[in-house]
């Protein structure tokens, strides 16, 4: 994750001094990262955009209290991660919204297995295809929120183990074990769609 720490620091300082343009620059720098996280977590672009905006608004309001003890990126990842977890937990308490969220990605309501051809192609061939991306995204939403989050942070967002531990506020050993369980769960879900040979 290429992050220009020095630029972050100056932008943060300017934002704390009331420069909204500086914060907009921070948003531009991290919008892709935050939006990807929210999109992979909820699977709906509109909802993901709203969530990403809320993450940045929270960050803007919290910046006056940001002391710089950690990197801005880690601080922002933590806000985004917790916002996603809170959002999904709140949606779970609202059955209608939850049903919409688990219905799939981009309007795909059918289970992934029903959309797959009888003879599944090799993963390398499918990877470029949009359909496999949809399948993976759909199967992601069936994982628990914690497994989904750690899988996205590591395998999609590319965070290192220690960054994940700092972002989630857990021990390194917890990251290892949780990531392994998440990958194993995802491997079981994808088993029906992939052929190894």
């Amino acid at each position: 994750m290429p992050v220009e720490q020095n630029d972050d620091h100056s932008l943060v300082t300017r934002t704390q001094a009331g420069d909204v343009a500086a914060f907009e620059a921070l948003v531009r720098r991290y919008e892709r990262w935050v939006f990807s996280l929210t999109l992979r977590m909820v699977g709906d672009r509109g909802e993901a955009e709203d969530m990403a905006q809320e993450v940045f608004l929270k960050a803007y309001r919290g910046l006056p209290r940001f002391k710089g003890n950690s990197r801005f990126s880690t601080w922002l990842y933590a806000i985004a991660s917790h916002h996603c977890l809170n959002h999904l937990q709140g949606r779970r308490r609202r059955p209608a919204a939850s049903a919409r969220g688990s219905a799939g990605v981009a309007g795909e309501d059918l289970p992934a297995a029903e959309r797959l051809p009888d003879e599944a192609p090799r993963a390398d061939d499918l990877l470029e295809r949009e359909e496999l991306a949809r399948i993976v995204q759909t199967e992601l939403t069936f994982l628990t929120e914690e497994h989904r989050l750690i899988l996205i942070l590591r395998d999609i967002q590319g965070l290192a183990y220690h960054e994940i531990a700092e972002t989630l506020g857990v021990e390194l050993g917890t990251v290892r074990s949780r990531l392994h369980r998440a990958r194993a769960a995802m491997r079981e879900r994808l088993e029906a769609h992939l052929s190894v040979g």
Binding site: F23, V136, Y161, H180, E191
Partner: protein
């Protein structure tokens, strides 16, 4: 290394986090175990596929929208802008809306007898002349049109002649109006003395012979109305009685309960069933509420009228009970229950703290039905009402109860009141 141990290490193996002996054990196990090799291939492919999802680009203009939200004015400013901008348009709209609402409120007030009566009751205690007029000639609170029509001449008007002992005593003992403290302001309905919890619900339903017990009034007993009575007595100087200790639970209700056997709850279902036969859809409780409803009054049977009013009384809807009993008395003056209705009418006024209106009803009952079993209760209540207005003529009435009706239920309460309020 077992298969389970090998598979537990897949994740770290994928991320190149294994080293040393553990890494060598795993690679050796994968070489030797075809099942684990296949499982590793599937695991690795799964991770690879997930990684292939990649990052997603946000919609164009995302950062600008975030900035817009940050720079958006606070909610109160947006609200003010919505309400008042543009000023030349919004202000006239608000003025017109306010005028329409005010007019509607005024019309509602004028056409609603209940609201008017509430307002009149609130105003009445501050008028010093209310207590000056003797009860017989005193006019009730400004009547609504419906009430005037409901009261026929002869029954509603009380003749000023033939003053009873009560009235003479009252006239002699009435203190100057200037020194009289104002009557207490009416309390909110929910703060008034309440009936025993089971009564309002059971009275209309019960078929037992239990007497219909009026809700407990606080006058002279419960804390809140007693405090008001104490306030009234304070300006009388040495005549003020010491504060009475709180009575046992239910004691006040016992004292203020009308004599037993007068109005049986068993009559209510019967009356209601008869009323249902006459006209099941007739809105009996609202019979005397207004001119429009009055037109249907003559068609209603006395049973319906009486039972409806008695039910409202039992349910502490005293304003409606007052209208009901007045309509009953006005339309069926020869009915055998007129004495009961008159007593309950007066008691409804009393429980609404409309003492000035309650007193004439009790006096009329005593005058018209001197042999009624309601007389001791009417005397007692009339005495309490006068004392609550600061009129010590009430003491004479209490003495009458204690001496003329020593066996009556009210006699003990009257004696107690005499000792505390009429020393």
């Amino acid at each position: 290394m077992t298969c389970d141990e090998a598979r537990e290490a897949f994740s770290e193996f994928h991320d190149d986090m294994l080293s040393g002996a553990r890494l060598m054990d795993l690679t050796q196990h994968l070489d030797e175990c075809p099942d684990c090799r296949a499982e590793w291939a599937a695991f690795s492919m799964s991770v690879q596929v997930v990684s292939g999802l990649g990052m997603a680009d946000p919609p164009p203009g995302f950062a600008a929208r975030v900035r817009q939200q940050i720079e958006a004015p606070p909610w109160w400013r947006r609200l003010a802008r919505t309400l008042f901008v543009p000023l030349p348009v919004k202000i006239p709209i608000h003025v017109v809306a306010l005028a329409v609402l005010s007019f509607a409120g005024l019309m509602l007030f004028q056409r609603s007898p209940e609201l008017r009566r509430e307002a009149e009751v609130r105003v009445a205690p501050s008028a010093p002349g209310v207590r000056q007029a003797p009860p017989a000639s005193r006019t009730p609170a400004p009547p609504s049109a419906g009430r005037e029509r409901a009261a026929p001449s002869g029954t509603g008007a009380r003749p000023p002649e033939a003053p009873s002992k009560l009235e003479r005593a009252e006239g002699e003992a009435a203190p100057p109006a200037a020194s009289a403290p104002p009557p207490p302001a009416p309390m909110p309905l929910e703060k008034r003395a309440r009936a025993p919890s089971s009564l309002p619900e059971e009275a209309p339903k019960s078929k037992s012979a239990a007497p219909l017990t009026p809700p407990q009034t606080g006058v002279g007993r419960s804390a809140e109305p007693q405090a008001t009575a104490e306030d009234l007595r304070l300006p009388l100087g040495g005549l003020a009685a010491p504060a009475r200790p709180p009575a046992e639970p239910g004691g006040a209700a016992e004292d203020l309960r009308p004599p037993p056997g007068r109005l049986q709850t068993s009559t209510l279902p019967q009356a209601q069933s008869q009323g249902a036969a006459v006209g099941p859809t007739t809105p009996a409780p609202a019979a005397g509420a207004g001119p429009a409803r009055q037109s249907s009054v003559p068609t209603m049977s006395p049973d319906v009228l009486f039972s409806a009013a008695a039910t409202q009384y039992a349910q502490q809807e005293y304003d409606r009970a007052i209208e009901g009993f007045k309509t009953f008395i006005a339309t069926h003056p020869q009915d055998a229950r007129v004495a009961d209705a008159r007593y309950l009418l007066g008691d409804s006024y009393f429980l609404r703290r409309r003492y000035a209106e309650a007193i004439p009803e009790f006096d009329t009952l005593i005058r018209q039905f001197p042999n009624s079993s309601r007389v001791p209760a009417a005397l007692y209540r009339g005495g309490q009402a006068r004392l609550s207005l600061g009129d010590r003529a009430g003491c004479q009435l209490l003495r009458d109860v204690a001496t003329r009706y020593p066996q009556a239920r009210e006699a003990a309460s009257a004696r107690e009141d005499l000792s505390t309020r009429c020393p």
